[in-house]
């Protein structure tokens, strides 16, 4: 293929891709309205249902009371759980990557914990921390911490030793080396881990909201299953998909921001060493 052809394709790519996506949705609409299956309502019905359930409160904020019951608690749990996972995972990952004794002490234990599928801990967590929000946040954090931790760990170990030597030559202190050399160098790996963690977090969010919960997306999903309300079920499925999609978009945005800063920092560092 000529380079000209490729660049033309790059330009039309988003259009073509969205065109195919729209075609698929139209196909879904056509199929569901013809088949009349009770399991699969048409996308238009789902859209209308979503609007009526969550966004029909009118001015000024549009969000209904149902939105506050169905969605907001889930968002809170996911956000807190993921934040905990990232903080603990990055901190532990750096500690493991920098101090060999710690790594050797805890590594077999960590491998075991990582191999534990999150949902099996729910019955245990009910006993240990009770059935409140902290149980759900804890389950999310426990399941999501491993990809962050192990990715940080391996990224920190892969920081070129030359950079560390350069930091020493530049007389950077321990803290400065950590925040200006190690963390920026490992940030790509850390973000890859956070991405995986987000997916796991959403799975565990739903799983944890099915037990002893009174609100949230997972709760609404099972409630509508038990009542055979297929349209409501699809509303929750679509909501979870949108949640996954938005989380991904936000991550990409933050990643771009942070990695940009990372590149600038590196440039600054180079300038800095140049002037010394």
């Amino acid at each position: 293929m000529s380079s000209n052809g490729i660049s033309r394709m790059r330009r039309v790519k988003p259009l073509v891709g969205w065109f195919v996506a729209v075609l698929l949705i139209l196909g879904w609409q056509a199929w569901t309205s013809i088949s009349q299956s009770i399991y699969f309502p048409t996308p238009l019905d789902v859209l209308r249902g979503t609007y009526n359930r969550w966004f029909s409160a009118g001015l000024p904020i549009f969000l209904t009371h149902d939105f506050a019951v169905d969605v907001v608690p889930s968002l809170e749990r996911l956000a807190i759980g993921l934040a905990l996972a990232v903080i603990v995972g990055v901190a532990l990952g750096i500690a493991l990557g920098r101090v060999r004794v710690i790594a050797e002490l805890v590594e077999p234990m960590l491998h075991f914990m990582r191999a534990l599928p999150g949902p099996v801990l729910i019955p245990l967590a009910l006993v240990v921390v009770g059935s409140g929000t902290s149980m759900r946040v804890g389950i999310i954090a426990f399941g999501a911490v491993w990809p962050v931790l192990f990715n940080t760990y391996s990224a920190v170990k892969k920081v070129p030793s030359g950079w560390l030597a350069a930091a020493k030559v530049a007389r950077l202190g321990r803290t400065a080396t950590l925040f200006r050399v190690i963390v920026p160098a490992a940030s790509t790996g850390i973000f890859a881990g956070i991405r995986v963690a987000t997916g796991i977090g959403i799975i565990l969010l739903v799983a944890s909201e099915l037990v002893a919960a009174s609100n949230g997306i997972g709760f609404g999903l099972t409630q509508s299953q038990r009542a055979f309300q297929f349209e409501a079920m699809w509303i929750f499925i679509v909501a979870l998909s949108v949640l996954g999609y938005i989380a991904n978009l936000m991550l990409s945005g933050v990643e771009r921001l942070v990695l940009n800063w990372n590149r600038m920092l590196r440039l600054n560092n180079e300038r800095g060493t140049g002037s010394v």
């Binding site: 073509v16 891709g17 996506a21 491998h111 534990l116 999150g118 019955p123 079920m233 699809w234 998909s241």
Partner: protein, 308 residues
């Protein structure tokens, strides 16, 4: 080289999640990496097995495990920080050993593994050929990438209630959920693997007069294999999580998830629950180990293929 050596050294059996971006990062190196992996691997295995560092690591690791068990025993016996009663570590380990000879428990474990395997197998059969096509044809890739990006973040667990009503609560439901979760990491890793193929190698193949299929089989496939196996490693643990989650949520009649749910409802069932959790963790470790062995095998295979 880097990729394959992760499989055996204790330091890094853990790095699977970040290897996909890693492979992406230096596409030019991949064919050579495949070529040398076998030798590097053997050297590592024979070397590290005898070094003092390895002994030290296992002693320290053992101390870590022991320390964890002691802390567990302490909190269970004193009841500090706990809402309910947690069975002590010793009793749980004894119970775990008993469960390993308990036929009905083992049947449940087998059901979970079988459902995961079926779902994973279907995902594999779809994702690998699709990934090869998407990776090799720019046109197909451009046509489908938006749809893939829209479908990929869908959390499979959200479909459990729907699938329970459509296909029932057991094997078929679990397999569908596992498949939905496994298909995307397999697909993206296959595409990454294909994209990481050395362009010069492909051009060389073409200049030998090889057709598309031959280039695919002799150059693109071998260099995509390491990335595909990374995908397999990530995917199998996701599959196991999803399968147990689906059993737990979907109310399956068999499987580890449903067994745990039943036990947790019994009075005095916590000991069995904890023992089940311990065994599930060990099971995850065993599955990971098997995939690691397969990885060594396949790395060697692609090495030979490369040398021919």
């Amino acid at each position: 080289m880097r990729f394959a050596s992760h499989a055996v050294t204790t330091e890094a059996a853990a790095t699977d999640e970040r290897e996909a971006p890693d492979v992406q990062a230096d596409p030019g190196q991949i064919p050579r990496a495949v070529g040398t992996s076998g030798i590097g691997l053997v050297a590592r295995i024979t070397h590290s097995a005898t070094t003092r560092g390895n002994l030290r690591a296992s002693v320290l690791g053992g101390m870590g495990v022991l320390g964890f068990l002691l802390v567990w025993e302490f909190f269970a016996r004193t009841g500090l920080l706990l809402r309910g009663s947690l069975p002590p570590a010793g009793a749980t380990l004894v119970k775990s050993a008993q469960l390993l000879t308990n036929a009905s428990f083992l049947t449940n474990v087998g059901d979970t593994l079988w459902a995961t395997a079926v779902g994973f197998g279907i995902a594999f059969l779809i994702a690998i050929p699709a990934g090869l096509v998407l990776g090799m044809s720019q046109r197909v890739y451009l046509l489908t990438s938006t749809v893939v990006e829209l479908l990929r973040p869908l959390p499979p667990i959200a479909f459990v209630p729907l699938m329970v009503l459509v296909v029932g609560q057991d094997l078929r439901m679990k397999a569908v959920i596992v498949m939905l979760g496994c298909i995307w990491p397999l697909l993206t890793n296959t595409i990454h693997g294909v994209h990481a193929t050395n362009v010069t190698a492909v051009e060389t193949g073409r200049s030998f007069g090889w057709g598309r299929l031959q280039v695919a089989r002799r150059i693109i496939w071998p260099s995509a294999v390491p990335s595909i196996i990374t995908g397999v490693r990530i995917t199998i643990s996701i599959g196991l999580i999803l399968c147990i989650g689906a059993e737990y949520i979907g109310g399956s009649s068999t499987g580890i998830g449903s067994w745990l749910l039943q036990q947790s409802m019994l009075p005095q069932g916590m000991e069995a629950v904890c023992a089940g959790v311990v065994i599930t963790g060990l099971l995850g470790l065993v599955v990971n180990g098997i995939v690691n062995v397969a990885e060594v095998k396949f790395a060697k295979w692609s090495d030979q293929e490369d040398a021919v």
